[in-house]
Symmetry: C2
Subunit: 939 residues, 2 copies
């Protein structure tokens, strides 16, 4: 039982669709359809009798499971049934064929619905209408297809008209259905991004003829005409009539939904969030209820708390006399939910009760859809609400205070990435004083962003390739814009509210977003937009503030967040309860209580290391000494060393570099105040220090008093076909031991100087040898390190407690980890290079095929972002086991960029590493991720 409840906690957390929280790969199997034969039930009803539960989401999808859960606790849910994810997998395994027996089962469920609703599917007198929606185990909002009003045809539309006494309504439903079905099932769509949808084109034309602005103003005849025109469009484009058989409609819709599981945007989405293809989607078939039956009907979307900032309030939007898609699509700008209090007071009261009921039952912030049909309120869906990082933190902290969840659950509810949202930069208050705000929209994704205006994903990609930052500006966004949103700094839309697609996705991506900015008029054709009369062209600078909704027509500098300023000792008064700083510290305190992994930082300068310490870093895990050589003043010394013809010349240059290095290390040691500092010896190939450009080479030659010919000759010698696999890392130190000697001397002399100052705690240098593949390489460098260290300690009489270890970044180092551990005090996994070599994949060169690999789902996720667990990960586990077997007190860490990635941190925790090291801004994320890993896997 205890185990079950833990499992379900974990699963709830993993599957809650939290922003940016990828499921751990090792746990993929949890969300696969069970393969055992005992559950071969394919279809699950909900409504009067309900067969599903909230914890069956892997089988029923999130939507289906929650519909079943709501129905079973007595919330008003229109009856329906769910075709399970099992069928999706079978559908793909059998090239689009369904399991035998499925059609019979579905027909039986339809009959059940007919009985419950006392209507007939395809009945020309009183037709049963259905919605067909996707619903995957992990929420993928807007990525897959939906069909509403299914069951209408030339006959049933008449019955509906009679039954509702509203012919206009019936034909409005019918034309919506034909458009949806035509577009989704029959593929009648716009040819590309910038051309108009063919149905909308006809609609515009008809509206023009009728001289009306709004669809709602179209008369019945116009709608009947529209239906006729839509049907001939379909006949023209598909070569056959729009289907009149309601079962043909149904299976067409079901197949389209299953088919949409592998459309490009769904694949891209899964790629980004590490959702396995094998999880599949379910299809929910549900009785239609109508929000568009008149002024006593309506539809809306609500959150039980504010998803942007986390405040406790019923938050959302609704439209009177509308269908659900009208709210979500952003075509009409809806009213804030608070207005319902006045317009529909009874139903508002019901919603408030439902808000409480849902939070108490699901114990998380809910995002739910409702429809009011002639005054009767129905819930169409609930799910854990997406939220911004700030909101995630605040909701977790508040719900813990409200005893809705305990501390551990609250911690697990905060996607580790979201702590970053508290640390995002804001516009420089001084700079912004002088900037005129040109417009305003709804604040939908907090943060401050500046960039060039782009109106399409393609243009966004073009500009980003040129190295520019962009703000994607769209009237409204569709799932096709995902590509552009991914690479933009921020998103601006002119239509749609805070629950529009743009807002949802932006929050999920952590993008700055301002939406529904009615002040802004976009003209795609002219590639310009007008903001309150000010004309802006594509490529012009724009700034948006996603926390206030403000729009500025220029680029504005940003400054650090409130949290960072308080941490750095500026603006203490902002540290009040409820402030971002307070939230941050609360969560970090919790995290530190549960995590086992230590968190270090990758830093080369005192400024970086101080920031990292403020963020909670417990040491430096990687100081890249080469960065120290790029400063003006010393780069030429470095170059002189590299270009030296003899060891003597080389030593002369090194001698001059020594004081610089010593000073750098002194600064670092002082700022780290006794915390361990891992210093990597010189790593990159030497030619990286030389100018590539002829003019710069000539200037350098002149400064160094060499001929250009000599310089070129030496550069030729240094040229490498595959620098990644060339003369770098420890190979440099073995070839030129004098370089290692200089660096080690600088380290120990700096340590001595710091320690001789009163009050300084002992310095703890950990010297790290890069690119070791043979234990003999490490042994060679260790002997140099120890010799020089002894020399300096003897000279100064100061005893320094130090360690010498190695990066594990060459596959051979993994294979021979036991031998290497015999000469190493520690291992630090250099997962960047280890990934490159293990996968035979140069990060610089993977662009050519990465997109293709992504589409074909060959890589689970980008292996340079999250550790490739089944490849590189296994090597790490092996190296840990072998290393520990040779030396039980071996210290283990990771210093590749994966050290700041939550999924990779969870892996490192499981692998038994002692610490992760990441860039200073990632330290809080790492602390939180480490705690979550420890909670999920307490061993």
């Amino acid at each position: 039982m205890a185990r079950d409840s833990k499992e379900s906690l974990v699963n709830r957390t993993l599957n809650s669709g939290l922003i940016g929280q990828r499921p751990r790969k090792g746990r993929k199997s949890n969300i696969k359809a069970p393969s055992s034969k005992r559950h071969q039930k394919l279809v699950f009803a909900f409504g009067k009798s309900t067969e599903g539960r909230a914890d069956m989401r892997s089988l029923l999808g999130g939507k289906g499971a929650n519909l079943a859960e709501m129905a079973s606790i007595g919330l008003p849910v229109p009856p329906g049934f769910t075709i399970s994810t099992r069928v999706c997998n079978a559908f793909y395994e059998n090239n689009g064929a369904y399991p035998s027996g499925l059609s019979k089962t579905v027909e039986k469920e339809i009959v059940n619905l007919e009985i419950q609703m006392n209507r007939g599917f395809g009945d020309p007198i009183d037709p049963l209408l259905l919605s067909v929606r996707s619903g995957a185990p992990e929420s993928m909002p807007g990525m897959m297809d939906t069909i509403l009003n299914l069951g209408l045809n030339d006959q049933t539309v008449k019955g509906l008209a009679v039954k509702t006494g509203n012919k206009r309504f019936a034909y409005d439903c019918y034309r919506r259905f034909i458009q949806m079905y035509g577009s989704v099932v029959l593929g009648v769509r716009a040819a590309n991004d910038s051309s108009e949808d063919p149905f909308n084109e006809i609609l515009s034309h008809i509206k023009g003829e009728a001289d009306v602005e709004d669809d709602m103003d179209l008369e019945v005849d116009a709608l009947v005409n529209l239906v006729k025109k839509y049907k001939s469009l379909i006949k023209k484009r598909c070569g056959k009539e729009f289907p009149q058989d309601v079962y043909e409609q149904l299976w067409g819709a079901v197949s389209a939904v299953f088919g949409s599981w592998k459309n490009e945007r769904a694949v891209l989405y899964r790629q980004r969030y590490g959702i396995p293809t094998s999880s599949g989607t379910a299809v929910n078939i549900q009785t239609m209820v109508f929000g568009n039956l008149g002024q006593n009907s309506g539809t809306g979307v609500a959150f039980t708390r504010n998803p942007a900032n986390g405040e406790k309030q019923l938050y959302g939007e609704y439209l009177i006399n509308a269908q659900g898609e009208d709210v979500v699509s952003g075509v009409r700008t809806p009213n804030p939910i608070s207005q319902m209090k006045k317009d529909l007071p009874e139903n508002y009261k019901k919603l408030i009760r439902i808000q409480r009921r849902l939070e108490k039952h699901f114990r998380d912030m809910q995002d739910f859809e409702f429809t009011i049909e002639n005054g009767a309120l129905f819930l169409l869906q609930t799910r854990n609400g997406k939220r911004t990082g700030v909101a995630a933190v605040r909701i977790a902290v508040d719900m813990n205070k409200e005893r809705l969840m305990d501390q551990k659950t609250a911690l697990l509810k905060i996607p580790a990435e979201s702590i970053d949202a508290l640390l995002v930069p804001i516009f420089d208050p001084n700079a912004i004083k002088n900037v005129r705000q040109v417009g305003r929209g709804l604040p939908a994704g907090p943060g401050a962003a500046s960039g060039k205006i782009v109106f399409s994903s393609d243009k966004a990609r073009y500009e980003v390739k040129l190295g520019n930052r962009v703000i994607l500006c769209r009237m409204e966004t569709s799932p096709d814009d995902l590509k552009g949103m991914l690479i933009s700094e921020g998103v601006l839309t002119t239509r749609g509210g805070v629950s529009s697609h743009a807002a949802l996705v932006a929050r999920q991506l952590g993008k700055v977003c301002v939406c529904g900015a009615a002040d802004v008029l976009i003209n795609y054709r002219r590639k310009e937009m007008v903001v309150n009369g000010k004309k802006l062209k594509e490529g012009d600078e724009l700034s948006i503030d996603g926390s206030t909704g403000a729009i500025y027509a220029e680029s504005i500098p940003t400054v650090s967040s409130e949290v960072e300023r308080v941490l750095a000792g500026r603006g203490r008064k902002k540290a009040l309860p409820g402030s971002n700083y307070h939230l941050f510290q609360t969560v970090m305190k919790w995290a530190d209580k549960y995590r086992r992994l230590r968190v270090r930082t990758n830093a080369d300068t005192p400024i970086m290391s101080k920031q990292a310490i403020n963020y909670g870093a417990e040491g430096i895990g990687l100081c890249r000494t080469e960065h120290m050589f790029f400063d003006e003043g010393r780069i030429d010394l470095m170059r002189r060393m590299i270009l030296a013809a003899t060891e003597k010349e080389r030593r002369a240059s090194l001698k001059k570099l020594l004081p610089y290095q010593r000073r750098d290390f002194r600064g670092l040691f002082q700022s780290m105040a006794g915390r361990p500092v891992t210093i990597r010896l010189l790593d990159p190939p030497l030619h990286e220090f030389l100018p590539g450009d002829l003019k710069l080479q000539r200037e350098m030659a002149k400064r160094l008093d060499m001929s250009l010919g000599e310089v070129k000759k030496r550069m030729d010698v240094l040229h490498e076909e595959n620098p990644m696999l060339g003369c770098r890392g420890c190979r440099l130190g073995i070839l030129y031991p004098e370089i290692t000697e200089m660096q080690v001397r600088a380290i120990f002399e700096a340590a001595k100087q710091v320690m001789l100052k009163d009050g300084n705690p002992p310095v703890r240098p950990e010297i790290m040898v890069p690119l070791v593949g043979f234990s003999s390489e490490l042994a060679d460098q260790v002997s140099v390190v120890r010799r020089v260290a002894e020399d300096v300690m003897k000279e100064s009489g100061v005893q320094i407690d130090y360690q010498v270890g190695t990066m594990i970044e060459v596959p051979r180092a993994v294979v021979t980890a036991a031998e290497i551990a015999e000469v190493a005090d520690f291992f630090s996994f250099g997962t960047n290079d280890l990934t490159q070599m293990t996968l035979g994949l140069s990060r610089d060169d993977m662009g050519a095929f990465f997109e293709s690999y992504t589409q074909k789902e060959i890589y689970d996720s980008n292996p340079f972002v999250s550790i490739d667990e089944s490849g590189v990960g296994r090597l790490i586990l092996y190296a840990v086991e072998q290393g520990k077997s040779a030396r039980s007190d071996l210290k283990l860490g990771i210093c590749g960029e994966h050290g700041g990635d939550p999924a990779s941190i969870a892996f490192c925790h499981g692998a038994g590493l002692d610490y992760v090291s990441c860039s200073p801004p990632r330290v809080p994320v790492a602390r939180l991720a480490a705690a979550q890993a420890a909670l999920i896997d307490p061993n």
Copy 2:
């Protein structure tokens, strides 16, 4: 007992110092000094009572063990003792200090010698003189130091003069001793390659003063004067007197010998032959006998068979009135041993008896040294004789016929590499007709070589770096010339016989060698040589025939060997018993009887595959399809394909390439006549097909009707930082499936065409996908292959039995081998790339540090020549295990260049692979090596 005899067979084989036969790494421990404490004896006597045996070579070294063995079977050996290799290891472990008790033990042994010889060490009346020589477990001829005549000083020289009644002899011994000791122990040497030895400079001066040509003609007074001058040279260079204390002399010499274990040339030698440093050297201290006591004395070196061609004859050289070093060093050109029959008939008869005795006892061809002191014959050393490849084969076949060894032993006695010697090219008989032979020397290393004349190793390296072939020409070679010999096509010396250093080493390296060419006068300073009056400068072309001794002053084309010509059906009459062809076939027949590994070849053309079949290849293990695209006529089609902007354009070019590929495959399938043919899909990065040079780019652009700008733009896109890790291998086929489709279509259409011809056996294509790291990559390509294959088979109605498999060359493929095996019919280890990625080492770029790594002994051997067993090897073992666990009938092979390397073949045998694949000329070596591996490890 059975096990012991097998062990000893193996060890004898491994340790016999055969040419080019590296010991298997896994067996290294066999030649380490035993670490257990029970044998802590450090010194072993031989002579009257003998403590060692031939099988104690790991402890006593080869020389010491064989001296002991000879003494124990009653052969005349001057008494002495051996300081074991244990002491060498202790010496290095303790920074040059000896184990306690050693000096006492040595003194005791000296006393024993004094008693046996009835002389006193340092006794001014009747001094005991000693030789001090190195002797490692594996023969390293000339690599380490030797001191003769030790025990002479200003007093004992007088005693020796009186005792021998030959003052000239005594001072001659003394001056030799001082020179050797000065050079070896005290380091008084020439500053560099081209300057004269300082002792020889004095000697020349004295000879000039005395107006004599030969050392032997110097009078006593001149020698006394020489001794005086030598001693002051030493005092001047060392700052102290030449040591007069005989024990000081002894320990100085012993330390020098141990020290020489790690001199540069010894390290290089061990590197080349994979001899572990830990094996150490022993030191042999032995009573001096003198070959320079007059006309009834002499010294010589003999082989029990001819080491150049293997014929059964006493073969060797001797000098009357000389010390051993005179023969070996090449300073005097000795007489052929057959001349002894006339000059010293009694001793010649004794030698013939010893020849038989040695072969019968040691059951191998012996290389022994003897000295005749006043008519008494002593054996100073015996060892298994180095021999050319041809000789190795002939001796093994003959000794089997003579029942000196059984077939298995005979097979193991032939270094696998040496079969190559039967296949070396010879000068084109037609071309040579018109070439005048300018001179002649002794044929000392068979084969034909042409190249530029170089006089030093440095110059050789310079020319070779420029891509030129060189012939190293030296008056005589010293171990310092090893570097140059390694990279030369052949070696020519003007002095020294067939057992000179040059000849020995050249035979061992498989280099063409002509030695003792008295017609040739070299002038190092002027960098020229005169051959019978014809002046040749450094850089001029030279050809030498190591089978005849002929020298030609120009470059001459070569043609294939006799064996190859007979195999190809030309010149059947050469196939007589005793012919090279007959030897070759005998050994190959034996090999095929015992080997388990199949041998395939890497071939892309019918010509290559026919040669390989003649050599016994059983299939193609690697056909690199990219080689087929480089032909004129099609390279532009390929380029058009690469530069295509759209898939349509690409497909159009591919369509044109298809007939070419089909024709290539047809030729290959036809030539392989039903043997399996493994075809690798396109592998290299596309930019390799484009011209790098601007002019060629412009020409190509013109031919392809493109602008240079377009070409450059596309090339920029294709440029990669690390092409090794870029868009290549299966990544190409995944990105552009149409390339895979074309290749597969070409393969199957070709197979169909061949099979439809009457009498052709079924074609067995095995399609190999390169650079797979993820099973999903392979699955993607396998599905393309199977789809196209089905299409072609359906179109043609011909059923083709084919397989699809993958290279294992990316470390991740090893890690996930079980998953990959589920979609692969076979694995072929691409050990070139696997080594590059596992070691993080680009073969193209390792030059920068490889020498330094070699010197520091960081790499055991070049990992691109022999499989790095403890790194890459472990990965291979893991992949085999995982692959087999997933698919028990998985076929396993290797197609990297290691597939032709005997040590690697032994590894592949042990790893349980099914076949190795190598270049056609390596096929015979691989067959032999595979048999040897099976004999050593029959599992």
